[in-house]
């Protein structure tokens, strides 16, 4: 088990290292619950794909791999700006923190915009299960199941990302007033952990959706 307890009075102290470590432990446990939450979706994907691998190959070719790749690049870059925002926060360079936070929020919004375009394309192609599914090629059933899982997984991911964008924007606004900066940096760190987790989920989603079968 961990070392003897930190010699900190049991009251809730204001000093930074203890509070920071506690908040990030709490955040990591929350990310563990989110990981199990997404884990179920990945199991559903694995079960469906193993049931009809060929069907998932056909379906994956119908997705827009280029849009998916640009989106992955956008989200990876937003992770960079978020991480730098947290770093500069601890390094005390406050002005750059605000700029980096806005950059992160903008990149997140860009990701959602690209996702919106993708959804619109899929709506036009008639690949939206139940609502507008006019696909008549081979493996029709596997394609419909693929797109059900596609919309379920990317939808849940997009919801998480939108919450992230909103929080980052709120933090960027709140950071303008310089009072109790320590609190801000801790929030930034926790928000950073959440942002990187949402990015990590997308990193796993990307190959499973877009890269199943790209060869000619």
């Amino acid at each position: 088990m961990s070392a003897a307890p930190s010699p900190v009075p049991a009251a809730i102290p204001a000093d930074i290292p203890w509070r920071r470590e506690t908040d990030s432990l709490g955040m990591w446990i929350f990310l563990a619950t989110e990981a199990m939450f997404f884990g179920v979706l990945f199991l559903a994907y694995a079960h469906a794909r193993i049931a009809d691998p060929a069907g998932f190959g056909v379906a994956s070719r119908l997705t827009h791999a280029w849009l998916g790749t640009t989106n992955t690049a956008i989200l990876l870059t937003s992770s960079l700006t978020m991480a730098l925002a947290v770093r500069n926060g601890w390094a005390g360079r406050r002005r750059s923190v605000i700029a980096l936070l806005w950059a992160t929020a903008a990149l997140g919004a860009a990701f959602i915009a690209v996702k919106g375009v993708e959804y619109a394309l899929e709506w036009r192609d008639g690949l939206v299960p139940v609502l507008r599914f006019t696909y008549a090629g081979s493996h029709a059933q596997a394609v419909e199941r693929f797109f059900f899982l596609y919309f379920a997984m990317t939808g849940v991911h997009a919801v998480h990302l939108s919450i992230g964008v909103a929080l980052v924007a709120w933090l960027a606004v709140r950071d303008r007033d310089p009072s109790h900066p320590v609190r801000r940096r801790e929030t930034a760190e926790c928000l950073g952990l959440y942002w990187h987790f949402v990015d990590a989920v997308w990193i796993f989603l990307y190959p499973l959706i877009y890269l199943v079968e790209l060869w000619r």
């Binding site: 060929a54 008549a136 081979s138 493996h139 059933q141 596997a142």
Partner: protein, 312 residues
Amino acid sequence: MNERAGWVLPAASEAAQRVDRIFFVLLAVTSVVAIAIAVVIVVFCIRYRRSARADRSNAPAGKPWLEYTWTAAPMAIFLGFFAWGAVVYAGFYGHADGAMPIFVVGKQWMWRVEHPDGRREIDELHVPLGQKVRLVFATEDVIHSFYVPAFRMKQDAVPGRYTEVTLTPTRLGTYEMHCTEYCGTDHARMGGRVIVMRPEDFARWLAEGGRRSSMAARGFAAFRRLGCSGCHDPRSTVHAPDLTGLYGRTVHLQDGRTVVADDAYIRDSILLPKRDVVAGFDPVMPSFQGQASEEDILDLIAYLKSTGGREP
């Protein structure tokens, strides 16, 4: 139909006797240990109650050797029961080697039983004494579970696939049968009887079912009734695969795969025609999901088998 004498459940199948042996050995072992613990607790409670004068010096806070033994001992006993249970459990499945299949189809709140020669029953199952029988389960809607307490046998019927159990009745008589997987309003009324008969009586019962067509004959009737012959009959104008002698043949599909036309392929082609489209044909066949019942599919398979072809 009260075959229970007081609180004793008859053991009417080979498996039942083997399960009862495990059950009563478990009962003996667990009762002995439970009583031993109870006695020890009561003795300690009396001997060491506050008002009693007893030697309470250097009370132990732990005896590693004792604790390791009462960790290892239960583990050993448990592994023994696990192995025994697993061996008997494995005997329920497979090893059919030529046993007579009987099809049991669950449908919301009744059981339809069908013998290979075509005799049908509802909520009743006649089985011959002493002969190995393979019960094959299918369901038309939700999950049902076929449970015969006297046989100590229970098996879920899962939609979308066949499940099966092998058993050998060893005692004449009539026994209760229940559905034990919750399936809706009349789940409690979805039961019936299992009647074990002497082999000769069973054969006579099977035969006297009156002039009725075999499954294959009924399959041919379904082949016409459902409109399959409209396309698949060699003389029809529609460009559709010819099914005569299909059974056991390897079929080349549009996306390059080749499959053996066994029962699962026929079943899927009826219910999900667009999944395995035959090479050279376009996917125009509608799905018969909801029109062709489980019996119809079993009969159609029997009919296609009767048009020639060989075991896959």
